[in-house]
């Protein structure tokens, strides 16, 4: 049923650190690799060796911000995938019941056996988190690697999403955002984790850690010279060496 659960036992999700993401796209292709081989139909690519168009569940944008306070423009790499919204409009619009939000952990999934490929859920999602697979005709989206995080065939430390496991910079964190004591919740509290497009009322579970302030070096600071020319310097040197 596409009715949203009034409450979920956990709120599993990702915390993405925009201060640390270097924009390497590692999470993009590891996600593609895992999800092509695992949950549901493979993520396909049309015209793969011509003008390609493929399905990905995670994409990394690059933006520039011109600070209001002046100074140099900043570059920010910005990974974008499903935010597993509490109030997920993609779920309620789904006519077939294929889309659903799990009561146990809040993960939003598509049951591909039910999906008719109408695309309405993708229209309802503000975040572009859903891509209709052109070859299979079913809706694909981030599964939060539901087939990894509980998977007893994986070593315990690997029971995390593929994108989190692979992120070289450690910019992606996974955990229960419903538990205020979880590492991810603490990180969000500490770093002022934010919602994307809060005005749309989707209540995303995933949070983004904003970039730390940049270019803050106080340019009135400078070093006190011990001498102004070489001769004086060598005098200082002798004294300094004495003290060693």
């Amino acid at each position: 049923m596409t009715t949203l659960p009034t409450q979920t036992d956990k709120k599993l999700g990702l915390v993405i650190d925009l201060d640390t993401c270097v924009g390497c796209h590692g999470c993009v292709t590891s996600c593609k690799g895992w999800n092509t081989q695992n949950y549901g139909v493979p993520l396909s690519d049309k015209d793969a060796y011509g003008d390609p168009s493929g399905t990905f569940l995670n994409r990394v944008h690059s933006y520039e911000v011109q600070p209001d306070t002046g100074g140099a423009a900043q570059t920010i790499h910005f990974p974008r995938s499903c935010l597993h919204c509490e109030d997920a409009p993609c779920v309620t619009v789904c006519p077939t019941g294929a889309s659903y939000k799990r009561e146990e952990d809040g993960i939003v999934l598509v049951n591909e056996n039910d999906c008719m490929g109408c695309g309405l859920c993708a229209w309802a999602c503000p975040y572009g988190a859903r891509e209709l697979d052109a070859l299979a005709g079913v809706m694909k989206k981030c599964t939060l690697c539901v087939d990894r995080i509980y998977n007893e065939n994986l070593p315990e430390e690997d029971r995390i999403p593929a994108c989190v496991r692979t992120c070289p910079a450690g910019a992606r964190h996974f955990g229960d955002l419903g538990d205020p004591n979880s590492d991810v919740s603490k990180l969000v509290a500490e770093r002022g984790g934010m919602d994307l497009m809060p005005e749309l009322g989707t209540k995303p579970v995933n949070k983004y850690l904003p970039p730390r302030p940049k270019d803050t070096l106080d340019c009135s600071q400078s070093l006190e010279p011990v001498a102004t020319e070489a001769k004086g310097f060598l005098g200082w040197l002798d004294k300094a060496l004495e003290k060693l």
């Binding site: 292709t29 081989q37 570059t75 087939d147 509980y150």
Partner: protein, 944 residues
């Protein structure tokens, strides 16, 4: 209404992941991360990082994570190819290996019998240079090198000459302890994942990052401070920092006096000794003890060298290196105010950065309670750390002043006392290693015999140059000549041009491996193509034979006469050896292997195995048994049984008959199995006492000897002053019997200063600044590896074309809009390409991603693939020679000291294209694909 619910996945799904995991080493780039290859039904199903691996500890980048698409790329070559059409047409016939090796032997055998120098064997970014050079040495040709000359030899050579090791992948910041990290001119580097992991850790620890780069992307995007410097001026900027720090006395005097040649004495007399260091009879540098005022060898027990001594001997004044440095760098020409405009960085900012560096290095110094004993026998009860660390790569090395700039940076590090200390920069074994521990270059050629020694190395003075008796270059690339005396990695980028010109001599066979020299790895791409296809008056190709080994249908394949198809990285044995470019960590020695986790389904062979057989067919001494039969069945056999020195082989792990010895030991017939068992790699950790101060740390030196990295302990001093450079200057001044040609004298005097200097990059000084006012750069995209990435169906969706990024000022001045094209002109050529706007960019710089543009017909792509229509190379604008000078001479577009290709000296003019072409210009006719075209659609899933 009844819901017709299909089956949802279970609440806690636990599906099978794979049948088996095979652990090997990634080769989507040269970083060499450990990978777990998940197999299903005997096929590669999924690739993830190996958590136990010293390089990547489980993480993988975008390329590594999509290795499955490289391994299965439709562009893979299928069988040996013999050219049947004209060069460049792409018309080939598939032949058997027997025939292929027969052809190769028929070309190479006569060369070896008459004049081995007629073979030029150059390899790209492979990781078997110790093996390929061994083969070449056995063949007897002096003409061997890998790609380092066009890559980053400035970095490597400056590091080794200055401190016995370099950035690159030979050292790393002390990520866990550093508090300030300054990164110069790096987009990605070879140490791809370790740098990303390090930056992540440093940030998590609250550390600060300063990015010095004209472009604010990637690592510079996450930097706290961005210094958008004018290209080619880092040397000035660094020397201004040195000026500020010295002036304020914010330098580590204790460190300088103990561990560097700052207290060494420079001879101040005029004449052949001028500028040389004072040494004893054994050649040991002398220093003066501060207490006793005795002049003693630097390594004397208990000596505390004086940094500010003067020594008179035979009427000659000798003053310390440190004295020279103070005199030079305190000069107002290096003051922030004096360099600010040129660098495009304000004087205040330079001063503030110097202040931050000083504060972090000295006020926030670290003390580890870890006693250690130095080479003079003194025991220190603590390790003092300076938590400021630096990294740098091609942004400073790929300029014609790159060697000196890299030197300047190392000198800055050393002045701060932040090399090989906690929080600073740390070497990875087998480094540190003084110049003395490296070979010098050899070029003694004799038919039917091996070369008289290793091809490459570090010259110590004019006597080490690779010159023939008549003074002409002994090597086809003119490495180790007066034009670039310290060209430690050779000059691969000059090989085709020199061979075509017959300068210094003609060759017969060009043999290349894993370098796309007819496209993205060459300057002047069009010219190079013409040189490869040019014919002489008899209608024969000017370069008579071209053998090439590639694994894929690259642009260069089309120009070869004989193509030896390699396997993919999952199908062969490889050896990531301590003798080569190792994968060690600062606190351990490590090496690794690749092994065939799947067998090839095509008639292809690992290139190194092919060399084993070719070597035997050519009777190369090391490649045959006494009875003349082939010595090594294949590369795996070589890896396990070859010994460089007794007990030392390609792999350091699991040595000895029983595999229980580390570093040294007899060959182990089951060594590869032991590696596979261990996850594909081997590590040997350094005990804590030996982890820092390695060049001077007795415990480290002993460990290095034990493990086979050094033959005997070799403690040494950091070379703030590089005496070998002074020797070249002396020659240029007319001293000594090996003399440079007159036209090079002044340049040698000017550029080979033994203390770091800055001079303007050459191209900028030779073109009219008004005609070509803009700097043009390339950067590596993190999600692409040169030309290889393009055949990867996933990666090419991320970077399938490349715009030229233009800064706001130029964007507005030209009235550019999204979707516009621009004509970009250099002294050498012109391209017309799409533009895009970027604000976080130096005002006077444009740039694009490297090697995205592709030739039509290559890589099994459709001819209208965006890479071939919208993508482009900047290489068309870059020439291997500089514009002609007043005297009509054209010098190589290279660093005058190392010969490093100066890719980033490029200056251009940019204009809006009013009638944009249909596709990027210049456009080349398509190549006929020797492997057909890739399939239309992909839905890659195995074993279901």
């Amino acid at each position: 209404m009844g819901a017709t619910a299909g089956t949802r996945i279970g609440a806690r799904p636990s599906p099978d992941v794979s049948d088996e995991v095979r652990q090997t080493t990634c080769y989507m780039c040269a970083c060499r991360c450990g990978i777990n290859v998940h197999m299903k039904d005997g096929k590669v199903a999924y690739i993830e990082g190996n958590r136990d691996h010293p390089v990547n500890k489980g993480v993988l980048c975008a390329k590594g994570s999509s290795g499955i698409m490289q391994h299965n790329a439709p562009s893979r070559l299928r069988a040996p190819l013999k050219r049947v059409g004209p060069r460049g047409s792409g018309e080939f016939e598939e032949i058997s290996w027997d025939e292929a090796l027969e052809i190769a032997t028929s070309w190479l055998k006569p060369i070896r019998e008459t004049n081995p120098e007629k073979l030029a064997f150059f390899t790209g970014r492979d990781q078997s240079q110790s093996f390929t050079s061994f083969w070449a040495q056995n063949f007897g040709t002096p003409n061997y090198a890998a790609h380092g000359g066009f890559c980053s030899v400035n970095m490597a050579a400056a590091g080794i000459y200055t401190m016995g090791g370099a950035f690159w992948e030979f050292g790393q910041p002390d990520w866990d302890r550093a508090k300030l990290f300054m990164i110069f001119g790096v987009a990605e580097d070879h140490d791809s994942n370790p740098i990303k992991m390090g930056i992540g850790r440093l940030k998590a620890n609250g550390g600060k990052i300063i990015g010095v780069n004209p472009i604010r992307s990637g690592y510079n995007a996450v930097a706290d401070e961005w210094v958008g410097i004018t290209p080619g001026t880092d040397g000035l900027f660094i020397l201004a920092l040195i000026h500020e720090l010295m002036k304020a006395g914010k330098i580590d005097l204790d460190y300088l006096s103990r561990y560097t040649n700052a207290p060494a004495f420079i001879n101040e007399s005029e004449g052949p000794e001028k500028g040389l260091l004072l040494r004893d009879e054994d050649g040991k540098v002398l220093v003066m003890d501060r207490k006793s005022k005795d002049l003693v060898p630097f390594d004397t027990k208990g000596v505390r060298p004086d940094l500010n001594a003067t020594h008179e001997r035979d009427g000659v004044t000798h003053r310390t290196v440190f004295h020279s440095m103070a005199t030079r760098y305190l000069d107002p020409q290096y003051a922030p105010e004096a360099v600010a405009d040129q660098c495009g960085v304000s004087a205040d900012r330079i001063k503030a950065i110097a202040a931050l560096i000083a504060k972090t290095a000295f006020d926030e110094a670290i003390e580890l309670d870890q006693p250690w004993t130095d080479f003079r026998g003194e025991t220190h009860d603590k390790m003092i750390g300076r938590p400021v660390t630096f990294h740098s790569m091609r942004g400073i090395s790929a300029h014609s002043n790159g060697f000196q700039t890299c030197r300047a940076l190392h000198v800055l590090q050393i002045l701060l006392g932040s090399v090989e200390v906690p929080g600073g920069f740390r070497f990875k074994p087998p480094y540190p290693k003084p110049v003395e521990a490296h070979p010098a270059p050899h070029c003694g050629v004799k038919p039917m015999s091996p070369l008289d020694g290793p091809h490459l190395g570090f010259v110590r003075g004019p006597e080490g140059l690779a010159l023939k008796e008549d003074g002409s270059p002994a090597r086809i690339d003119k490495a180790f000549t007066w034009e670039n005396p310290m060209s430690a990695h050779g000059l691969m980028h000059m090989v085709i041009a020199n061979a075509h010109a017959g300068d210094p001599y003609k060759i017969d066979t060009l043999f290349m491996y894993m370098a796309n020299m007819a496209w993205n790895s060459t300057m002047n791409t069009k010219g190079t193509i013409e040189m490869l296809t040019d014919k002489d008056e008899n209608g024969d190709y000017v370069i008579p034979h071209f053998i090439y080994s590639d694994a894929y249908s690259s642009e260069t394949v089309a120009y070869a006469d004989l193509v030896l198809p390699d396997t993919t990285y999952l199908e062969r044995h490889d050896c990531i050896s301590l003798l080569d470019r190792p994968i060690c960590e600062a606190d351990g020695a490590a090496d690794a292997i690749r092994w065939p986790v799947v067998e090839p389904d095509r008639d292809v062979r690992g290139f190194q195995s092919v060399l084993c057989e070719l070597g035997a067919r050519l009777d190369l001494p090391a490649f045959v048994n006494e009875d003349g039969s082939q010595k090594w069945a294949d590369y795996a056999d070589y890896i396990q049984t070859h010994q460089r020195k007794p007990g030392i082989g390609p792999l350091a792990g699991f040595r000895g008959e029983d595999g229980d010895q580390n570093g040294r030991g007899a060959p182990n017939p089951n060594q590869l199995d032991a590696y596979i068992e261990n996850g594909g790699f081997w590590v040997n950790h350094i005990e804590e006492e030996a982890q820092y101060f390695k060049p001077w740390n007795k415990a480290y030196q002993d460990w290095a000897v034990e493990i086979g990295i050094l033959d005997t302990p070799m403690p040494y001093l950091f070379q703030l002053y590089v005496e070998p450079m002074r020797k070249f200057q002396l020659a240029a001044e007319g001293h000594g019997d090996r003399q440079p040609p007159d036209h090079l004298r002044q340049r040698i005097k000017d550029t080979m200063d033994p203390l770091p200097i800055w001079y303007a990059p050459f191209e900028g000084t030779l073109v009219d600044e008004e005609e070509f006012p803009v700097h043009a750069l390339t950067q590596r995209p993190m999600a692409m590896y040169h030309s290889w990435g393009t055949q990867n169906a996933w990666l090419r969706q991320i970077h399938g074309r490349n715009p030229l990024y233009v800064p706001t000022k130029i964007w507005e001045a030209n009235g550019f809009k999204d979707g516009d094209w621009a004509k970009v002109t250099s002294h050498h050529g012109e391209i017309t390409v799409p533009v895009a706007h970027m604000a976080a960019l130096n005002d006077n710089t444009v740039w694009t991603w490297n090697a995205i543009g592709k030739r039509k017909g290559a890589w099994a792509l459709k001819e209208d693939a965006p890479e071939a229509t919208k993508g482009f190379l900047l290489n068309h604008l870059i020439h291997e020679l500089l514009p002609s000078r007043g005297d009509g001479m054209r010098w190589a577009n290279s660093d005058p000291i190392t010969g490093q290709a100066s890719w980033f000296d490029l200056k251009v003019r940019i204009e809006k294209s009013e009638a944009p072409p249909d596709e990027s210009q210049p456009a080349f006719p398509p190549i006929k694909s020797p492997v057909g075209q890739g399939p239309e659609d992909l839905a890659w899933e195995v074993g279901k």
